[in-house]
Structure formats: C-alpha cells, structure tokens
Symmetry: C2
Subunit: 548 residues, 2 copies
C-alpha cells in the first residue's frame, strides 16, 4: 500500500496517556451511582448492572499480574476520527497486561458479531492504522444489537473464541444497546463483560461524566479549515454569499463549534429555532436582514452556517412532516397514482389547515420532495432536502421583494456547500489521537478489573494530557426513560445544544458583531508537528463548557 | 482582528529565498530571444519589447546603490494561494534596495488602476498578511486592461504617485495584457516598466520558462486532503460512489495532480476526452464499467474525479453548444415565449441532425439548462451544469440497463461534491509561500534593473529553495497568435494537459490498477512545521515534468 509522506510520518506519533494509565494502574472506586432520572424503572430493568460505582484509574506502586484473556471489539455506526486509535489503545493496554492477550475485531459493525465475521488484530495490522482516520481496519455498520437471538448468536462466537469481554465503540444508541447486552450477559452469568466507548462527530453524546465524544474535535477542525478558506475567498472576491450546510443529523454542536472557530456572518442553531418557535420564514427574514444590512455597507458577500438537521427543528415543518407521514400511510390507496399536481391539490384539502398553509408556503420543489420522496417505511426523507439551497432560494425571493419596496439595494449571488464526508474520516488531531488512545487503554483497564456495563471515560481534557483523568462510568447512570416508536425505553439522553450553556452564550453575545463586521477567523488545516498552542488544543465548545 | 493560533504562528515563517536573491544581486543576461511561434507578427506588434534576453539573478560581491522609486501592484483575476507573499516579497526586496522605496496597491484588480483606487502598502499592512491565503490585502478583479483609454487613465495616477513600475499578478490573459501595456508605455517613452507574475490555481500557465503558476500547489494539496478523507470514508462505509468535481475552468491539471496524489478509482481528463473524440456516453460507459467491475468483486464504492471544464471538451457537446449559441441568437424572435416543451421540439427540428441527436440524448434537465440558461451575451452557461450529477445520473441509468441484462449485480449509491472555493484562498504551503516570495523578490530585481515586458520566474523548484534559480523572461518570448472572438491576437499559449507528458503517462500507467483495487492514498492536511519530506514538497506534476 502506497502511503503519503504525512501518513508515514504520523504513524510514528506516540499518543500521550494520562499519568494514571502510564505505569502500574490501580482502581479508585466511588460511591454507588443512580441513573439521571427514572431511577425505579431503570433499576428494575438493570438489576445486575445498576448502581455500580464510578471508577478512576490512578498510578500505583504495585505491579499486578493479569491472566491472559481474549477481547472482542466492534465499531458501530458512522465513522469518527480516532476510532483506530481506540483500538490501538486497547491493543497496547492488553499487551501490556499480558503479551498472551488477544484482540478480535468483528467486521462491518455489530453484524459481524451476529454473523460470526471477525479477524484477529495482530501487531502488524494494528501498526498499519496508528493515528489514521477511518474505520477501515475492521469496518463499521448500523445493525442494532437489540434482540435476544442476536445476543445468543453473539454468545456462540464469543464462546468459540473464548472472549472474556466485548468493547462496543458507538454513539448514544449503541452505548444504550451495550448496556442492555451487558445486563443480558450478566443475568445469564455468561461471564462476558461489555464495555462502551463514546463516539460521534455530532458531539451529542456528552454529559456530567462524558466531556466529549471522540471525533468531534477533528471533524469540526476539518470543517473549520475549509469554512475559513471559503471566508477568505468571500472576503477577497467580495461578491458571493456562501451557504454552508454542516453534517450533524440532529444537534447543532458542529455548526456552533465551527461558528466559534471561524466567526461567520450567520449561523443557524436548530435548538434555538425550536425554542423560539421560529417558522421557516422567520429564519429567511433573519438571514435576509443581515444580507441587506451588509449590502447597505457595501458588503455583498458573507458566509452562513446551516446545521443539517435544521428542517426538523422548525416546529411548523416538524408538525407538517408528522401529519404527512400519517396521512400518506393511512390514505395510501387514495393517493396512489396521482400526478404531483393532483397530489398537491389533494394534500391542500386533506392536511389540517395550518399544515396545509405550511405546505403551500414552501418552494414547490421542496413541497414535492416532502410529498413524494419516502423511505421504505413510508417516511419523508428529510435528509434529502437541500436545506442550503432551500434557504438561499427563499432569501433571494425575500430580497427581491424588499428591492421592489426600496428596502434593499445590493447584489445577491449565493453559492452552496455541504461538508460532512470530508471530516468523518480525517486523520485524528493530536487531541483525538490522545483522547481515543486513552479511552482504549481505559477500556482495557475496565476489562482487567472485571467491570461490565461501563463506558470508558477520560476527563479533564482541557488540561495537558498527563493531567487527564481516565476511568469508567456505569452506563445505567446515564439512562432515562424516553418514548421511542411508541414505547418507553431506557436510553442515554442525547445532548442537544443548550441555550443556557457557555458555548451558545458566547456565540449569542458576538453574533451581531460577526454579522455586520467581517470578523472572519481562519483556523487553517490541522497541524500535527508545530507549537503546542497550534497542535494540542481541544474544541472551543469544551473549553467554554469547562469554564476555561 | 482575532486570529487563529495557526495564523499567528504562521506569520513568523520566513520564506526561503534562492541564493541568488539573498545578498547582493547581479544580473546574468542571455542571448536575444524569439517568440515561440509567429515571430514576424509578434515582432511587428512589440517593436520595443521583442527579442529581449532571458535574465538570471546571481549572488554578487558588489553592493549596489539603488535610487528611491515607487512601485504599483495589481492582483488580477481569481484568487490563488500565495498572492500576499508575492506582495511581501516585492515589499521586502524594495525596502532592501532602498528604505525610501514605496509600494502602492491598486484596489480590486486592474480596475483600481483605471479608477485611481489605491492604497500605500506600509510595513504594518504587509506584516498582517505574511504567509496568509486570499487576496484581501488589496482585493482582485476581472477588468481587462485592453484599451488605450485605460492605459492613459492609468498613466495619470502613475504620474501622480510618481510610479516607476507596475507589477501585474495574474494568469495567461493578464500577463498577455501586461505585455501589451509594457509595449504601449515603452512606445510612448512613458518611463513606466511593467512586470508580470504567473498566477493561477488551474496550473495552465506554464511552459519552457515557467515551471508552474503559483497557487496550484496549495490548491491541489487542499483538494487532495479532502479527497483523501472522502476516500477513507468510502473505504470504511463501503457503500457510496463519490463523484467529485474539481475547479479548473479549462485544463485538467488539478484533477490530474489530485489523482496522482490520491489514486482514486476513476479520473476523467478533459484533454483525453477531446483527443479520443469521446462522447458523453463513452465516458458514462467507461465509468459504469469500472463500477460494475468493482461490484463484481464486492466493492460497491469508489471515488471519481471530474474536471470542471469537462463538458466543453466533449466534442459532440462542444459542437452542440456552438450551434445552440448561434441558432438561439439568430432565431431569437422565433423562440421567444416558447414553453420549454415547445422549445425542445423546436430545437429537435432546427438543430443539425447530429446536434439534435446529441441534444436529445442528454438527460432532460441538462438539455433544458443548455437551452434556457443563457448569460447576458446569449451564451450557454456551461459552468452552471452540475457535471458530477449529470454523470452519476447517466451512470445510474446505464447500470440499471446492465442489471436488467444480467451484466451487473450490485448497489449504486452516488454522492456529489464540488471543490473549488475551499482551495483558492488556503494559506500557502511552504512551497507556494517560498515560491511566491521569491517571485516577488525577482519582480523587485527586474524593476531595479530597468526591465519591462518581463515576467518574474523562479526555476529548479524541485530542489531545495536555496538552489532555486530566479530571473525574468520576456513575455514576448511566450506569445503566439491565436484567434480570439474572430480576430488574431498575440496571446500566451494556455498549457493544457499533454497526453505525452510524464504526469499523464504516470496516471495512465496506473489507472487500471487504481480502478480495480482500492489503492487510495491519504495525503492529509498541509503541514507547515513538520519534517521536510512532509512540508517542503512540490506537486507530483512538477516533479514528474522535471524528470525527478
């Protein structure tokens, strides 16, 4: 395999470990824990894994002996920078404990466990992937581990390979499922530990115990690089408005972090749109207002960040989609075979009056997309909607109206971008490389200490890596009951952007200045070898959340 | 102005100069030159600037005295990484010659000269922009300096500011215009020197004398970074075909260089399409063939690079566009007010038979775009066509046909990207930072030595910077006569990708392997501080062209 010069040079990077994981390790256990809410129900659902203590790994004088074990690992869900380093951290920790330890990777996600598709991860494989992006070492997948048959099928290969513990690297859902699996195996006395690891570029898996999910840092820095470059272009050409959509299915953490790093003229935060009950027209009016203000100052250019999940946070559209999903399912026979024009008429008569009004207010192409493009479950495919183009079209129309009314004088030339796949598999920043490696080592220590139903964590990561604090948190501690597909389920609460949180407040305090002035910041590409203030910084979000 | 950590750290970088420009400089002159073609006509058009010698700057023992002068500078055309460093190089060279020297920047391109819009570039301004991307220090513009009134208007402000020399930083057209301007002022005995500088990310301003245009290196490395990240994602998710369009109005140098850096599964080179007289369907069949072959091996994923200018290099479409432009202009009255369906019918009857067939073979949306979207001159707006979507749609149709015929088994899920604005204003790589700074210093030396009608050049740039060779080339040497808008004009020949050149041959020798195997290379982000094999490399194109 041909490698780039950076790929080769970067392989030699030795991720920095917290002091607590460097030499001999001992475990400091806290008091029993409770779930964040619904304690009675959660306790009843997780009799074997509820109430466990928080654990922390601290340096020790004593060298322990570890019996040889085999461990299995699974990557679950979307790629995030640093996944390979979690695996490398586990591998190195296992080999440190006992050179006879073995690590198996299940292939293409949780499906690999169910289908018995795996490979042993030996030193030569591991060394090929140190500090690289991507999940290609073993692949990932979206199969959900939710059914007893899956657990039992998994148990067969676990027995066959004599695996003592399974590590599942994933987002909130995957870690919830890891917890259910841990409880299942514990209830069966199967002798199989299950450990989770917090992964997602979306940044929505965080709480009192988890400072951040891995990959968020690298992905945001990669997006901020190209946003910064586009801003420099906007400020040089002085004639384009760049509408930039950013990946992040639901929460707006990525858009917010990129805004804090680059100071664009406009950033829409979905959670604020929902909280303020804004309509699409409110958003359009807000953007158009800034375009007009800048035009009045002679600046017919700018940048606008739009979170991918926006459309579903607009309350009126959310409501419309909900009714569309129901209505088109129930009246399937009635609408089949209708032309798009007929379907539009039918919908305008059959939707509730407010939803019909919302439907008709949308640009025709978007309305048609909502009405026609359904996934195999019959649901509207919201992710197909090109929100960046929808908004720029509507802003253009608004400005044209204002121009006629004499309220706006200027030129409006929009360009569109969507960044997502550019960042999910970037090679991890030093922060993510270190963080992931430490998470992997933590997971290895949790296993060595017989823990199950835990997630590996590393805290205090705004400090230099030596001062980071590694440990584990019982996953049950993070659960609450939520309605999913009509049923109450124990789940890890998704962390949306908090409007009373320090990152949003920092953004809100500055956005008017950023809108009117051209206050762009140009972060440039991720650096691996330079001065520490360039190379070893966490996200602005995390720094502000930690009050640093 | 708030600056990123990298922005601050990078400002301290001292670009490396060739030995010949470091201390005292003397000039080595070659023999008289001739234009590359059409010598008689060019000589007649440029009696005062034809036949000048090549010059080279070499170290000297003797310290020269330089009288104080004022210099003006203009950025022309699209942004390219390193433009600010050219200006910094000129500034430092001028101040080295005589601290009383002054540098004026004309604002927003050549229009600034004509409209007398300028600012003096003092040390505090210059220091703000060292090693930064963008053209925002003085802005750029696309006004063409072609008319006597413009030259005369420019002369007024030149006299007012007592400017001795003008430096024009631009692409092939801008440098051609610089040459015409140099000749005009020389013929008038105006005492104004004009010096050009080779700029364009497209990489199509190069020849025997110019190794590369500045910005090409940084832009390609930035695109290669994100292409590499997408490839890692493709290879991890294993379910998407990424169609990636790359900026570059005409030549395919960017696509070729990115292919050499990242080894994607498919790269289309416009020049080859034209040379082989390929139809759109030939291209589609070629791509679909590779998709099918990979699918047969279980690989339903891949990456495809598409040069922005492709569509105009497909001979049949080029011909269709030419007739459309003529026909719709001549029959304007006949087609006005027709619905799109009526226009399609009208065209199918009025176009020449072969063009009508081409027109009807296009996906309807693209045909409509060709027929309807015209620029103010009535021409088809080829750049609006989303070639990446056009091709993926047609490939999808082809595969569907093959599936029915049993020739293809697989899933085809395309995703689309367009990279351009992400790279034009990136902060320059070490190569571009050094190259541009040296070009600027060369321009300063050309001025000090009384040269006019020259372009600043730096050669031997595959070697370490100390061994680079700086000098100047008479622009007339690069001219030939070409038909432009119906008239024969002296122009610098645009350098398209040569199918007999080493870069294309390297690509062609490997593309079958890259298509079938997954041989992706992941270049990662531009590094500024690391080992020299990571940070100080030129493009693969240049290395191969120089036989290194």
């Amino acid at each position: 395999m041909k490698k780039s010069a950076l790929h080769i040079a970067r392989a030699a990077y030795q991720p920095k470990l917290p002091l607590g994981l460097r030499g001999n390790v001992s475990v400091k256990e806290g008091a029993p824990t409770e779930s964040v809410a619904d304690q009675e129900e959660i306790k009843k659902l997780f009799p074997n894994t509820y109430g466990l203590p928080l654990v922390e790994f601290v340096p020790s004088e004593e060298k322990k002996e570890y019996p040889a074990i085999n461990v299995g690992i699974i990557l679950s869900g979307g790629q995030a920078p640093g996944g390979h380093n979690v695996i490398c951290g586990i591998f190195d920790e296992l080999k440190k404990q006992n050179p006879a330890n073995k690590l198996y990777g299940f292939l293409m996600g949780p499906g690999g466990l169910v289908d018995h598709d795996y490979k042993e991860l030996t030193a030569d494989i591991i060394d090929e992937y140190r500090n690289t992006g991507g999940f290609d070492m073993i692949g990932s997948g979206r199969t959900k581990l939710e059914k007893t048959e899956q657990y039992e099928s998994g148990l067969k290969i676990i027995r066959e390979l004599d695996i003592k513990a399974l590590i599942i690297i994933g987002g909130d859902d995957s870690n919830t499922n890891a917890c259910v699996l841990a409880e299942y195996y514990a209830a069966q006395n199967a002798g199989v530990q299950v450990i989770g690891c917090p992964k997602t570029i979306d940044g929505d898996l965080k709480n009192e115990q988890i400072e951040t999910s891995f990959g968020f840092d690298t992905a945001c820095k990669t997006y901020a690089e190209v946003i910064g470059n586009i801003q420099r272009d906007a400020n040089s050409a002085r004639k384009y408005w760049h509408f930039i959509k950013l990946m992040g299915r639901s929460a707006s953490h990525i858009a917010l972090e990129c805004a804090l790093q680059t100071q664009p003229n406009v950033t829409i935060i979905s959670e604020e749109v929902e909280e303020k009950n804004m309509s699409l027209d409110d958003i359009v009016e807000y953007i158009a207002g800034i375009v007009a203000k800048r035009a009045a100052a002679g600046n017919n250019f700018g940048t606008i960040l739009i979170p991918e999940g926006l459309i579903e946070f607009v309350p009126a559209i959310k409501k419309l989609i909900a009714e569309l999903n129901d209505l088109l399912a129930v009246k399937k026979n009635e609408v089949e075979g209708l032309s798009i024009a007929e379907l539009r008429t039918w919908l305008s008569k059959n939707l509730a009056a407010d939803n019909a009004a919302t439907f008709l207010s949308l640009p025709e192409a978007v309305g048609n997309q909502l009405a026609l493009d359904r996934d195999p479950h019959g649901n509207v495919q919201v992710s197909l909607i090109e929100t960046e183009k929808l908004l720029s079209e509507m802003v253009g129309e608004k400005l044209a109206t204002w121009k006629k009314e004499g309220k706006y004088v200027g030129k409006f030339a929009p360009l569109h971008h969507f960044f997502g796949y550019e960042g999910r598999c970037a090679a991890p920043s030093n922060y993510d490389a270190d963080y992931c490696y430490a998470l992997g080592a933590s997971a290895g220590q949790l296993i060595a200490n017989g823990k199950t139903g835990y997630m590996a964590i590393v805290k205090n990561t705004t400090a230099p890596a030596a001062e980071w604090v590694a440990g584990g948190v019982p996953i049950t501690m993070m659960l609450n009951m939520e309605r999913r597909h009509g049923e109450m389920k124990p789940v890890i609460k998704k962390a949306l952007v908090r409007l009373d949180g320090a990152p949003f407040k920092e953004f809100a305090a500055n956005r008017e200045t950023w809108a009117e002035q051209t206050a762009y910041v140009y972060p440039g590409p991720i650096q691996y070898f330079g001065p520490t203030e360039v190379c070893d910084q966490c996200t602005v979000t995390l720094r502000l959340e930690q009050g640093k």
